[in-house]
C-alpha cells in the first residue's frame, strides 16, 4: 500500500480525527449561515399566506397560521399592483437595454489601446465616482430643468450609465487578446465590423453579466420614484412597498379600488404587505438559479481594478 508522502509525516490517526472535527465545524457553520439567510424569506412567505387576524394575535411564525390566500386575492384585485408591475417591468426591460447599448458603446473604445484620448475619456467617467454635485443640484436639474417629473424616464435616464459597470465591461473587453483585432484588421475589417462580428460575440457572457447587474438595479430601484413620481399609476413595485411601509392610507385606497366594502380593522394590511414583497422578489427568485453564475463571474472580474 502506498501512502501519499504527506500522510507519513504525521500521526495519520490524529490527523484524520482533526480533519473530521474541522469538516463537521465547517459544514455546520455554513449550514447555520444558510438557514439564517433563508428564514426571513420563509417567515415572509408564511405571513403572506396567513390570516390577518390570527397573525396579529399569535405573531409571525415559520409556518402559515390559519392558511388563506386572502392577502393575494386582495392584492391582485387592485389596479395598483398591476400598474406597478407594468411600470417595474417597463423600467427594467427598457432601462437595461438602453443602459447596455450606451455602456457597451462607451466601454469598447476605452479598451482599444491605439485610441489617443482614451485615458482622458476614462478619467472623465472615473472622476464622477470620486466627486459629485449631490442630491439638491441633481434634483433641481431633473425636476425643474429637464421636466422629467412624473415620467417613467426619470427612473431610467438619470441612472443610464453606472461608471462601475462601465469599467467592468471595459475590463472584459480589454481582456480579449489583441491578436483577434489584428488578424481581423489584416483581413480588411473596419472598426464597425470588428466590434459587431468579433468583439460582441466573444463577449456574450460579459454582456450577460453586466445586463443582470443593470436589471437587478432597475428592478430594485425606488429612490428616483420617491423623488420625482407623484402619480400612483407610475409607482414601481419597490416604491409601492416603500409607501406601504410608511403609510396605511395607501392600503386603504387600494382596498377601495378593489371594491370591497372592508371593515378597516379587518383590512389585511400586514399580510398584504408581505404578499406584495413576495410578488416583488418573485422574478428574482425565479431567475436566480439561471442567472447566478453570471453574478459570480461578474464580481470576480469587477474586482480587478482598472
Amino acid at each position: 500500500m502506498v501512502y501519499p508522502l504527506s500522510e507519513l509525516t504525521q500521526n495519520p490517526q490524529r490527523r484524520r480525527r482533526g480533519d473530521a472535527v474541522l469538516d463537521t465545524a465547517v459544514h455546520t457553520l455554513i449550514l447555520v449561515f444558510c438557514v439564517l439567510c433563508l428564514i426571513p424569506f420563509i417567515v415572509a412567505v408564511s405571513a403572506s399566506f396567513s390570516s390577518e387576524r390570527t397573525l396579529l394575535r399569535e405573531g409571525y411564525s415559520l409556518l402559515p397560521v390559519a392558511f388563506t390566500t386572502a392577502a393575494y386575492d386582495m392584492l391582485f384585485s387592485t389596479r395598483q399592483i398591476v400598474d406597478s408591475y407594468k411600470v417595474s417591468l417597463f423600467v427594467t426591460v427598457f432601462g437595461t437595454v438602453l443602459s447596455m447599448v450606451v455602456t457597451a458603446m462607451m466601454a469598447y473604445p476605452l479598451s482599444v489601446k491605439k485610441l489617443r484620448y482614451r485615458g482622458a475619456i476614462s478619467f472623465f467617467a472615473y472622476f464622477t465616482m470620486l466627486f459629485n454635485g449631490g442630491l439638491v443640484p441633481t434634483y433641481m436639474l431633473i425636476s425643474k430643468y429637464l421636466g422629467m417629473r412624473d415620467t417613467l424616464w426619470c427612473m431610467i435616464i438619470p441612472v443610464l450609465v453606472n461608471p462601475w459597470n462601465l469599467f467592468l465591461l471595459r475590463n472584459f473587453f480589454s481582456a480579449i487578446p489583441g491578436e483577434l483585432h489584428e488578424s481581423a484588421r489584416i483581413d480588411g475589417a473596419n472598426d464597425v465590423r470588428i466590434l459587431w462580428q468579433i468583439i460582441l460575440p466573444v463577449s456574450l457572457p460579459a454582456l450577460a453579466t453586466v445586463s443582470l447587474f443593470y436589471a437587478v438595479a432597475y428592478w430594485n430601484q425606488w429612490f428616483n420614484a420617491m423623488l420625482y413620481i407623484e402619480d400612483a399609476s407610475k409607482f414601481p413595485l419597490q416604491y409601492l412597498i416603500m409607501k406601504m411601509l410608511r403609510n396605511i392610507e395607501l392600503l386603504k385606497q387600494m382596498s377601495s379600488q378593489a371594491g370591497f366594502a372592508v371593515d378597516m380593522s379587518a383590512l389585511p394590511t400586514t399580510t398584504t404587505k408581505m404578499a406584495t414583497a413576495m410578488v416583488t422578489i418573485g422574478p428574482i427568485i425565479i431567475a436566480y438559479p439561471f442567472a447566478q453564475k453570471y453574478f459570480t463571474s461578474g464580481l470576480i472580474v469587477g474586482s480587478v481594478k482598472g
Binding site: 508522502l5 504527506s6 509525516t9 504525521q10 482533526g18 474541522l22 469538516d23 465547517v26 459544514h27 457553520l29 455554513i30 449561515f33 444558510c34 439564517l36 439567510c37 426571513p40 417567515v43 397573525l55 405573531g59 409571525y60 411564525s61 462607451m106 469598447y108 489617443r116 475619456i121 472623465f124 467617467a125 466627486f131 459629485n132 454635485g133 449631490g134 442630491l135 439638491v136 443640484p137 441633481t138 425643474k144 435616464i157 438619470p158 443610464l160 450609465v161 472598426d191 466590434l195 437587478v216 430594485n220 425606488w222 419597490q238 412597498i241 416603500m242 411601509l245 410608511r246 400586514t270 408581505m274 406584495t276 414583497a277 416583488t280 436566480y288 447566478q292 459570480t296 470576480i300 474586482s303
Partner: protein, 316 residues
C-alpha cells in the same frame, strides 16, 4: 482638409486632434452618448453646487436666487447637526466595513474547506441570494422580527426578560444594522475572496502537507496571508466611501422615525430630509457639498497612503 502636413515632425495639437478623429472617428462617436450622459448628470450638477451659496428658492431657480455667501455653511455648523450626522455616518460605515469584511473572509475560508461540489454550490447560492433583495423588502422582512407585538425576535426577547422596543430604542440600531448588513452582503462579499483562494497555487499547500501542516495551520499560515492584499483593497473601496451613508438601506429601514435619528441619521438622510421636508435647498446643498468635498479629499489621502504602503492595493 488634405493631409499634407504629415511630414512635419511635431504636429501642433489641433492637427494631431484632427488626424486622430479622422483615423478613429467611429470609436469616438461611440463614446458620445456616454460622455453626454456623464456631462449632463454628473458634471452639470457639480456646477449646481452654487446653490450651496444661495438662499435658493424654487420659484426663482438657480439663476434668479439671491446669493448669501457662506451663510448656509455657517448655519450648518452652528446647529451642530452636521457633527451628529457625520459622526453617525463614519461610525456606521466603520462598523459595516469591519464586520462585513471579517464575515466575508470567514465565509470564504469556510467555503474553501468544503470538498463536496454540490454542497458548496447550493450553500453558496443561498448565501448570495439576500444581496439581490432590495432594502424596502428587507424592511418588510425585518418587521416580522422586531414588531413589538408580533415580531419573532421581539417576542422572544420579551419572554427571556429583555423586552426591547426596537422602533423606539435608538441604542440597538447600530447592532441591528450591522446584522442586516452581514445578512445581506457577507455571502456576496465572500465571492471575491473565494476567487482569490481558488487562484492560490496548489503546490504551496502540497509543500505545507509535506512539512506536516494541519488544515488549520494552512488556513492561518497560507490562505489568510495570501488574502491580505485583497482584504486591503476591498477595505480601501469601503473606506474611500466612508463619508457616504447608505441612503437606500437607512431610509428604507428607519424612514422618518425620529426616535431613531440619534444613532441612524447619516449625512445622506439628513440632506434628503432637509430638502424634502424642510424645503431648505441652500442648507441641503451645503451639507451635500461638505460631504462631497470631504469625501474627495479623504479618498485622495487614502489612495496616496495605499500607494506608499502597499502599491498593489492603490485604488487608482
Amino acid at each position: 482638409m488634405p493631409q499634407s502636413n504629415t511630414a512635419v515632425p511635431k504636429p501642433i495639437p489641433k492637427q494631431r486632434f484632427l488626424r486622430e478623429m479622422k483615423q478613429n472617428g467611429f470609436l469616438y462617436l461611440l463614446t458620445l452618448p456616454g460622455i453626454l450622459f456623464f456631462f449632463v448628470f454628473s458634471y452639470v450638477p457639480m456646477g449646481g453646487l452654487v446653490i450651496a451659496f444661495q438662499d435658493y428658492s424654487m420659484r426663482y431657480g438657480i439663476f434668479g436666487s439671491r446669493f448669501n455667501g457662506v451663510d448656509n455653511f455657517k448655519f450648518l455648523f452652528q446647529t451642530g447637526d452636521i457633527w451628529r450626522v457625520t459622526g453617525n455616518t463614519l461610525f456606521l460605515n466603520i462598523l459595516f466595513i469591519l464586520f462585513t469584511t471579517l464575515m466575508s473572509v470567514f465565509l470564504a475560508v469556510l467555503f474553501s474547506e468544503v470538498r463536496s461540489r454540490g454542497f458548496k454550490r447550493i450553500t453558496q447560492s443561498i448565501s448570495i441570494l439576500p444581496n439581490f433583495v432590495s432594502w424596502t423588502v428587507i424592511a418588510l422582512f425585518l418587521d416580522a422580527f422586531i414588531d413589538p407585538t408580533t415580531g419573532m425576535l421581539a417576542k422572544w426577547l420579551a419572554r427571556m426578560g429583555y423586552p426591547v422596543d426596537f422602533y423606539a430604542n435608538a441604542a440597538v440600531w447600530p447592532t441591528l444594522l450591522v446584522f442586516l448588513r452581514i445578512w445581506q452582503g457577507a455571502g456576496y462579499g465572500a465571492i471575491v475572496y473565494i476567487a482569490t483562494i481558488v487562484g492560490i497555487d496548489p503546490q504551496i499547500y502540497e509543500a505545507a502537507d509535506i512539512d506536516g501542516a494541519t488544515r488549520l495551520q494552512k488556513i492561518f499560515r497560507i490562505t489568510i496571508p495570501i488574502l491580505k492584499p485583497t482584504i486591503i483593497l476591498m477595505t480601501l473601496f469601503g473606506v474611500g466611501r466612508i463619508f457616504y451613508g447608505d441612503f437606500g438601506m437607512i431610509y428604507a429601514l428607519v424612514g422618518d422615525n425620529s426616535l431613531l435619528f440619534k444613532t441612524t441619521d447619516v449625512i445622506d438622510t439628513y440632506v434628503y430630509r432637509m430638502m424634502r421636508m424642510l424645503r431648505n435647498y441652500g442648507m441641503s446643498a451645503a451639507t451635500g457639498m461638505f460631504q462631497s468635498v470631504l469625501g474627495f479629499l479623504f479618498i485622495m489621502v487614502v489612495n496616496w497612503l495605499a500607494r506608499k504602503l502597499e502599491p498593489d492595493s492603490a485604488l487608482f
